[in-house]
């Protein structure tokens, strides 16, 4: 097959003009931006996210992208964003359809976001500032909000395991494991990390020991699922003093 010299030259001229244009702009775009990317809200800031782990398990709380809203620290709200929560880094990842890029959003700029969980339920995450162990901002899932607040921290950790081959054929000796930690918010007293159970609430509200026991007996409270824990917290808050 013969390619005419004219075509080859045109191709090179085209390549050259593209590189010159990119040089002039001094920044890189996958796609030419359109007015679709315009918004009067504060633009979402973040770094490029690169998938990194080839370990067994997942860094994310969901297997797929989820539609959700996002509220910035200044109150601006974005809806219908494609989001995934990276529980290993504890960072929110967004797919930007305008540029086709995965962006790890700056945590300092975020206040709250929502996602759809694996079971189809809407999960609301809120940024909470921890003063110690660790001193940083962490996204906690809000399970229940009333006089008491029930929150859940998703944290993926790397655990040692027996040696296996990853998708690239490399030998690995660790895997990712999702952990869940519950926190209870008390009015005016901050957050307490806890293991859900009757014993915890009795220790927390010793004055209401009998009432808590009665509540558990009458409602057959168990702590086997989030729904059960939410029910328990919502009942217990009715008997605690203001």
């Amino acid at each position: 097959m013969r390619i005419p010299l004219k075509t080859i030259l045109s191709y090179f001229v085209l390549l050259l003009s593209i590189s010159v244009t990119a040089q002039d702009f001094q920044y890189f775009q996958w796609k030419k931006l359109t007015t679709e990317s315009n918004t009067l809200k504060y633009k979402l800031p973040g770094n490029l996210y690169l998938f990194r782990s080839a370990l067994r398990g997942s860094e994310f709380t969901t297997n797929d992208w989820s539609k959700g809203y996002l509220i910035l620290q200044n109150g601006d709200r974005y809806d219908s964003l494609s989001l995934r929560y990276n529980s290993f880094l504890e960072e929110l990842i967004m797919f930007n359809k305008e540029t086709g890029a995965l962006i790890m959003l700056d945590k300092y700029a975020l206040s709250e976001f929502s996602m759809v969980g694996e079971n189809g339920e809407t999960q609301i995450f809120r940024k909470i500032h921890f003063e110690k162990s660790p001193k940083k901002d962490i996204f906690l899932r809000i399970l229940y909000e009333g006089k008491l607040t029930l929150m859940l921290r998703y944290k993926t950790i790397e655990l040692a395991t027996s040696v296996y081959h990853d998708a690239s054929g490399l030998l690995r000796s660790s895997e990712l494991f999702l952990t869940e930690t519950y926190y209870l918010g008390l009015p005016g007293k901050g957050l307490i990390k806890f293991t859900p159970g009757r014993r915890f609430f009795i220790a927390l509200f010793p004055g209401q020991k009998k009432a808590i026991k009665k509540l558990h007996r009458q409602n057959r409270l168990r702590y086997k699922s989030n729904e059960n824990i939410i029910k328990a917290v919502s009942l217990i808050e009715t008997i605690i003093p203001d």
Binding site: T21, A22, Q23, D24, F25, Q26, Y27, F28, Q29, W30, K32, L33, T34, T35, S37, N38, T39, L40, K41, Y42, K43, L44, P45, G46, N47, L48, L50, L72, Q73, N74, G75, N96, E98, T99, A101, I103, D106, Y108, A109
Partner: protein
Amino acid sequence: MSSARKNIIFLFISLLFILTSGKNSFAQRQVHLFPDRNFCVSGDTLWFNTVIFPGDDTKTGNVVHVQLDDLKNQHITKVSVACKNNKGHGFLPVPDSLSSGIYVLKSFILAENITITNQRLIAVYNRFDRNLGSLEIPLIKNPVHFEDAPGVSIKTNKSLYKSGETVILDIHIPEETGSGLSCSFISAAIADPLTEDFSSFYIPGNIDEQTLPGISVTENEGILISGKVSSLNNSPAPGAIVLLSIPDTIPFFDYCISDTDGLFYFYLKNARGTGNFVIQALSGSGENCKVELSENYIGTTGDFETQGKILSYEEKTFAADIIDASYYERLFAGYRHPAPEKFSMPPGFPYPFYGKPTKTIFPEEFIDLPDFTEISRELLHGVQYREKKNKTTIRLIDYGSEVLFKGEPLKLFDGIPVFDPHFFSSLGTMDIKKVDVVFYKRFFGSLAFNGILAFYSNDKPIDWQGALPGAGIFRYQCLQPESRQLIVNEVNTDNNNPDFRKVFFHEAYDHITPERQLSFLTSDVSGKVAIRLIAVTRDNKILYAEKIVEVE
């Protein structure tokens, strides 16, 4: 009639009802404007109150724009104020060179389906027009007169006062009237015989929709700024990237892609005062564009019809007296214009738009280095600066992929993007206060950057930005900072300083008690003094009561 047909008719009527009621609620959205008087001398400061109706509509936002136009819809000046609980106040400096005439104050908000502006008339006497003989007076069609406030009475302890005497007011508002009020305003000012009637009505004006911004926005503690980019041959430049930068400790940055008409929009939240904005625009092919910033005035359809009026002796004397009073006020007290509007825009975030820097360097903590080649080598590890054959390049290392970025980073100087890397070549450590570097591919909305290199100068004047190709520096008035009208109502103990106040009292009240006693001091300006109470009811009626006393 079959039940299906009945259902269809019922649905149709319901739909009609919903649509009609919706339209009514939009039509009711309006902004009332109450100036502290109906006249001023050029160079005066006019104070005003505004009320947005309805007060609980989140779609109206809280920003009211007040503009001063002449009777031919020519724009003179404009201010924007943010309301609290749907009520706001502010001032409008009347230009010193404005000709004598009747002018129109127009108040509006930028919200959907706002098509009417409430116009108030005001007379301006040019301070050199002491022998004013005639004026063009508008023929007023369809004014909306304020209603008499039922049972409201304004009583004074006397009807004739001397200059510098205290006027004591007793205001009585019946319980049934007071309970229905949303807010009320009480003012006392010298009464202009020519414009006395202007106090008790407004003129609805139809907004020319062509003059509204072509974008839906609710201004809430923020202001929309818009403009147009055009190519160097003056044709609109669609698809251009328009960059807005505001230098500050935490610099503000935003971008907008121009639409098919070359228009662009930015929204500045919490921006107060008058600031210097740098706007750069690059067309789709990377060329610089021309930028024009719009002042966002609204137009109204139809001019006022006018007729010439020969001023009566009383009107002429008033104009001459009031001009004299302003002259002597300036002579004795100086030109008391409001304090300059210092710009402030509290950042909503702890870091600039480029996020938390990976590295921050303070060059003054190191040895003195004469140029940027030395600084990049010695202080900025991960920053590659090359000058080869008249071509300068800067590259940052990408901590994500652990190789150098192939393209230039976004380079900022005092928060302003600088595209020519050679700009930095002569910068030494003495010129730079701080350098922030981000060694990651950064995104801001849909803009992507090959890392960030942000320099902050040691007190570099703003003029340098004028040297940037394609950059425009605009001085723009955002929301008016909170300010209060200062009316001195104390006995003047300094006999050498005459008192030429024209407004003696001006206060706004959210709740007014049924019996209220107020007082104010008259000034050395003699004539009739109009004491007015204007109240807005919860169902959007404007009530009016007035009492005239005389100062000899």
